[in-house]
């Protein structure tokens, strides 16, 4: 069990369906402040939906979502906007604004929420792009970039305001092994340097164990286990073991 102190995000008994498709059937996740929580689970189990519920982009049908103790499922539109300012989010497919250049994409949050001068904005944008390993792409459009590059631009955009909580939806999927390591490292060092809270969705069990402080596993719309990394690793839960070992035999059915 994760201790009840310093919980920054908590989902309590969350249910969510799209039409007849029940995606969440009782999700419980606690995210402690100031660490990296990695959420694992086979694809299609609603991990992206889970992240969207955390910042109120989707509302659960039932259940509560607490951000620093405030239930955002009951928050007003204005409160929700203010709560979202605490977050940065990297979308699974980056969700870059395709009518804007890379530079304008990363500068967008700065222009919207700060009064920085253009010179300062430029400095920050270039700095963040360097941080994710991108050079000389500032004036390209997202359509001119590879999938991995788009993802890194999305990452730069998500961290440029240095938010309190950063949500990463499969930040390393589709990257080459070296870039994967760079991004893992970036997530890790950003978290340590700024003492923020990170939630990372991942498929990659090795990198998950490398960066995580806490872990959660989702399967069939429910939380299988939400634990500290060590307890998670040593758990004898058959679902967790099957996922860690990457075996096709076990309680998790892929169809």
């Amino acid at each position: 069990m994760i201790e009840d102190k310093n919980i920054i995000i908590e989902l309590k008994d969350v249910y969510k369906s799209f039409g007849k498709h029940d995606v969440h059937k009782g999700i419980n996740v606690k995210v402690p402040q100031g660490g990296i929580t990695v959420i694992l689970g086979p694809s299609g189990t609603g991990k992206s939906v889970l992240l969207k519920e955390m910042m109120g982009l989707l509302l659960p049908d039932k259940g509560e979502v607490f951000i620093e103790g405030v239930d955002i499922t009951k928050a007003s539109k204005v409160d929700l906007v203010n709560i979202r300012k605490k977050f940065g989010m990297l979308f699974q497919n980056a969700a870059l604004f395709d009518s804007m250049t890379v530079y304008e994409n990363v500068a967008f949050p700065l222009r919207e929420h700060t009064k920085f001068k253009e010179s300062k904005i430029k400095e920050l944008v270039i700095e963040k792009l360097r941080l994710v390993g991108l050079n000389n792409v500032e004036y390209k459009l997202p359509s001119e970039l590879s999938g991995g590059m788009r993802k890194r631009v999305g990452l730069a955009r998500a961290i440029v305001l240095e938010p309190k909580i950063i949500l990463y939806d499969e930040p390393t999927t589709g990257l080459d092994p070296i870039m994967r390591d760079v991004v893992d490292d970036l997530i890790y060092s950003t978290q340590k340097k700024l003492n923020i809270t990170s939630v990372v969705i991942s498929h990659d069990i090795d990198s998950a164990f490398k960066i995580a402080d806490y872990m959660a596993m989702i399967y069939d719309g429910k939380t299988v286990l939400n634990e500290t990394k060590d307890n998670f690793k040593n758990s004898d839960n058959p679902y967790v073991q099957q996922f860690i070992n990457g075996s096709k035999d076990g309680p998790i059915k892929m169809f």
Binding site: R84, G88, F91, N93, A95, F97, D98, F108
Partner: protein, 256 residues
């Protein structure tokens, strides 16, 4: 029995909840007009896109409509020896009816569809979610500037259409059909009032609102990938055109 009721009732319920959502979007976008920050850059971009880029289409549509209208009305008036009435009919028809309706339909086809395609693509590629996640309201950022641009631009485009129609009608009437120039102009000035132009202007403002609002509404509610975007775009043009014609009737009934 229940099943039959469900089958018959569903489209009506969908329509009711649809028009409710449509109306809410309208209210929301108007509210954002009065709340900072105001998006000047977006507004100018949309004025250029909806307005400036439509001018050539509007010139062509207006001119040819006026020309055809002159020919058609000539056939009737010639039988009564009232050839010179062609100018009056072309002027009235263009100002009150054809100018506003045809320019709005052309802009719905050109810009309304593009608005739906653009916003719809943003919806299905999660760019709308990305705006939310960056604490920027998509209605304020995307919808309000487009609706405002539609309101500003349509009456101007309408003026161009009416002007071109009248010029086209004059060309056909006087130069091709050889109607007496003085009489043609005299009767046109006499029977076409400024109030006829105002009526048309009011219509085109309403149409400008309708076609941009429909474009945004269909875009914001797009679902289902690239296919969904195509479907939403088609629906947007059809709905905009139908609403333009329905509101044309309502406005005409009210104003005349």
């Amino acid at each position: 029995m229940d099943k039959i009721l469900t089958i018959i009732g569903a489209p009506f319920l969908n329509m009711a909840s649809g028009s409710g959502k449509f109306f809410l979007l309208f209210i929301e976008s108007i509210v954002w007009l009065f709340r900072p920050p105001f998006r000047w850059k977006q507004l100018f971009k949309q004025i250029e896109f909806i307005g400036a880029n439509s001018i050539s289409v509007i010139i062509l549509t207006g001119t040819f409509t006026g020309m055809v209208f002159a020919f058609q009305s000539y056939i009737g008036f010639h039988k009564f020896g009232a050839d010179y009435m062609v100018g009056t009919v072309v002027g009235l028809g263009m100002a009150r009816e054809l100018g506003p309706v045809l320019s709005a339909i052309m802009v719905a086809a050109r810009a309304g569809s593009a608005i739906t395609a653009e916003i719809g693509t943003m919806k299905v590629t999660e760019q709308i979610d990305a705006l939310h996640s960056l604490a920027v309201d998509p209605v304020q950022y995307l919808v309000t500037p487009r609706i405002l641009a539609g309101l500003i631009v349509m009456p101007l485009l309408n003026s161009i259409a009416v002007f071109c129609g009248v010029v086209g009608g004059y060309f056909v009437g006087v130069k091709i059909l050889d109607i007496n120039k003085t009489l043609y102009l005299q009767y046109m000035y006499q029977y076409v009032d400024l109030s006829d132009l105002y009526n048309g202007m009011i219509k085109s403002i309403v149409f400008g609102l309708l076609l941009t609002l429909v474009g945004c509404y269909k875009g914001m509610n797009t679902e289902g990938g690239a296919e969904g975007v195509g479907k939403a775009t088609t629906e947007s043009v059809v709905l905009a055109c139908v609403l333009i014609l329905v509101f044309d009737y309502i406005l005409t009934a009210f104003m005349f």
